[in-house]
Amino acid sequence: MAKKITQKTKTPMPLVDPDVRRHSFGEVATGYSVELARQEAARCIECKNMPCIAGCPVEIDIPAFVRQVAAGDFAGAFQTLSAKNLLPAVCGRVCPQEDQCEKLCTLGVRFEPVAIGRLERFVADYAALAHLSDGAAPAAYTGRSVAIVGSGPAGLTAAADLAKLGHRVTIFEALHKPGGVLMYGIPEFRLPKAIVEREIDTLAGLGVDIKTNHVIGRTFTIDELFNELGFDALFIGTGAGLPHFPSIPGVNLIGVYSANEYLTRSNLMKAYRFPEHDTPIVRGKHVAVIGGGNTAMDSVRTALRLGAEHAYLVYRRSREEMPARAEEVEHAEEEGVEIVLLAAPTELLGNEKSRVRAIRCVRMELGAPDASGRRSPVPIAGSEFDIEVDTVVFAVGQGANPLIRSTTPDLPVTKWGYIVADPETGATEKPGVFAGGDIVTGGATVISAMGAGRRAARAIDAYLQGQGRKEPFLPISADSSVAPSSGT
């Protein structure tokens, strides 16, 4: 029988004061204490239907871990979480739970749902402090090896699942640090990098080998991974990684960035700590970020922290159409981001040193809905206005990075360059090659990429089992440290 309802609203998450945090890269949300966590977990009415589970792309047993938190059994809660989620400290922070598990919560029908995301974060952070084990132990070695291309959320999840099933897994990462968007895309104040590193490190305990500075498509092609390095199957999780710039004059002026470059400099290369770190970034006083999604929010809040006196968010539709999480928009506004709605840039103006000095925008009004269902913005003739800026960041979506497809001619892609893959299994038309995450769907979320990695791992395991017994592999490559070894 369901429990009585004790508290109708979520236990608030402690936040750093906006006037303090707008100048700091320290984490904004500081997390529940043990008392707050148990108080929030006690709100779960333990309903019979448990609709929350269906809302989780990685199928976490939510009622179980919440019950364990309420009882104070944090070690148990961590094991429950870890059974299904390699990255609970990450997901607890960045998942849009309001569109997923919390949206389906029975309590949420009449009141606020259980704050499942906050509880997940609490458990993960507690486990780290208390050095709790996730209880994972891989199955016996199957004799099969899998190459994972890309160490973002999709690849990491596929790797963990396959390693637990006993396959030998090697991840190839183009950059010098693993994590993909978790490292280069999401800022320190939303997702501390030390936490990302800690969760990725658990993969080593499962026997997964991560090879950074390996650019698949260049260092090795997909075919070389099969034919020369002897992998039995492949998962491609390379992400969206191709920035879009509008075709307007001035996009190549100094001080104009794609969100990818701006965030990679700040997050991965720690340009916010220049000159202690060598990579610079323009610390604009007047910054305009174009876009309305989470990447735009991350960019504009980063601009504030880099010292902007005015950080504008310029979005061509209205507030209701903004794809960013409401929580991120609220935090941005509290920090002083100035949101300019129904406006789009037509031109960037530069000075005599080719540095951007202003952005010319036109006002928009909403017309008929487009293919995505959102009302299409239409420029209002003669409504141009200029905003003086010294930095512009375009966060208007990404395309598919061409490196894999241009070096794998027999891997079918859509006309936009995304890999064609079965949504249920991640199988592509190239035998043994699976794919998931943004390289298949276009830019989406961390958690949906993780779900794709999970489904692909299942399908890869089935594919490998269907291949029969295999002889031990003898590497022919000069760099034998890369070939899968048989055994330990």
Binding site: F220, L242, P243, I254, M269, F274, K353, S477, A478
Partner: protein, 280 residues
């Protein structure tokens, strides 16, 4: 972490390193580059692969110390390691068997045309070379280039070695003597590449240049290295680094290279002060 195998000074502030990098040595083709990061606080910077020895599993990088990152790198010694080396990156040089090429290398640009000259020669082509610098001590790779090119003309602005004059004058001379080329490959400071293109454009002589903008990832995901070629946007790290010189918007490349000039100068000053400070 890749280890430095050997180090040789080629000119003031110019060093050739051989670095242990078997996968890259095996795979690289002429025209490609690596992205290198010396240490945990370092920048990611692109460097052309000047040579490779797949049997030894090593690649050669020729580095001119111009800012903090290259100065840091050039202070390393054999046995030291660099933190990260990724590659080979970029499109390989388009080499047609039997092609006739004139390689023009200005200053450190000689390090970029050298692998291309070797590649053309290996494909049964013929290469003439013009290697130029301001003064004698800045000429590099003369011996290596002479071994694969004929003729190999050295020019110095001040006449201290070889022919006195600019590389463009030597090019005009070769063309005047009746040399016929399928294409010219010109690499060096931007004004030099532009000047060569200005010589060859009216002759309709295809000219390939190699661009060196500021890069961050080198894999096409950030757009920092974007350039305008024939009015279209290209990324040097995935579409280049070589492009049709007659289509390049050189003024824009030059402007964008100045993006961090003040920060770079300040970082260099701070670095020099650190090096000069007495040990604590």
């Amino acid at each position: 972490m890749p280890r430095i195998l050997s180090k040789e000074t080629l000119a003031p502030d110019v060093v050739r390193f051989w670095i242990d990098a078997p996968a890259i040595a095996r795979k690289r083709r002429p025209g490609q580059f690596v992205i290198i990061r010396t240490d945990e606080t370092g920048e990611r910077i692109p460097l052309t692969i000047a040579d490779a020895d797949p049997a030894r599993g090593a690649v050669a990088l020729i580095v001119q110390a111009v800012g903090k990152s290259t100065h840091k790198l050039n202070r390393l010694e054999p046995g030291d390691t660099v933190l990260d080396v990724a590659g080979p990156l970029g499109q390989p040089t388009r080499i047609v068997p039997g092609m006739r090429v004139c390689c023009v290398g200005g200053g450190i640009g000689a390090a970029v045309v050298y692998p291309i000259a070797m590649g053309v020669k290996a494909a049964g082509g013929s290469v003439a070379a013009i290697i130029g610098a301001r003064t004698r001590e800045l000429i590099i790779l003369e011996r290596e280039m002479s071994a694969v090119t004929d003729p190999c003309i050295i020019t110095t602005d001040d006449g201290s070695y070889g022919r006195k004059g600019l590389v463009t004058e030597a090019l005009r001379m070769l063309l005047g003597e009746g040399y016929a080329f399928d294409e010219v490959v010109a690499v060096g400071p931007l004004p030099m590449m532009q000047a060569v293109c200005n010589v060859t454009r009216p002759l309709g002589l295809k000219t390939i240049v190699s661009l060196n903008p500021i890069m961050v990832d080198g894999t096409g995901m950030c757009g920092g290295c974007r350039v305008t070629i024939g009015g279209e946007q290209k990324f040097v790290c995935v579409d280049g680094p070589e492009f049709d010189g007659h289509q390049v918007n050189f003024a824009e490349v030059a402007a964008r290279l100045r993006a961090y000039r003040e920060d770079e100068a300040a970082a260099m000053d701070r670095y020099r002060a650190e090096l000069a400070a007495p040990p604590t």
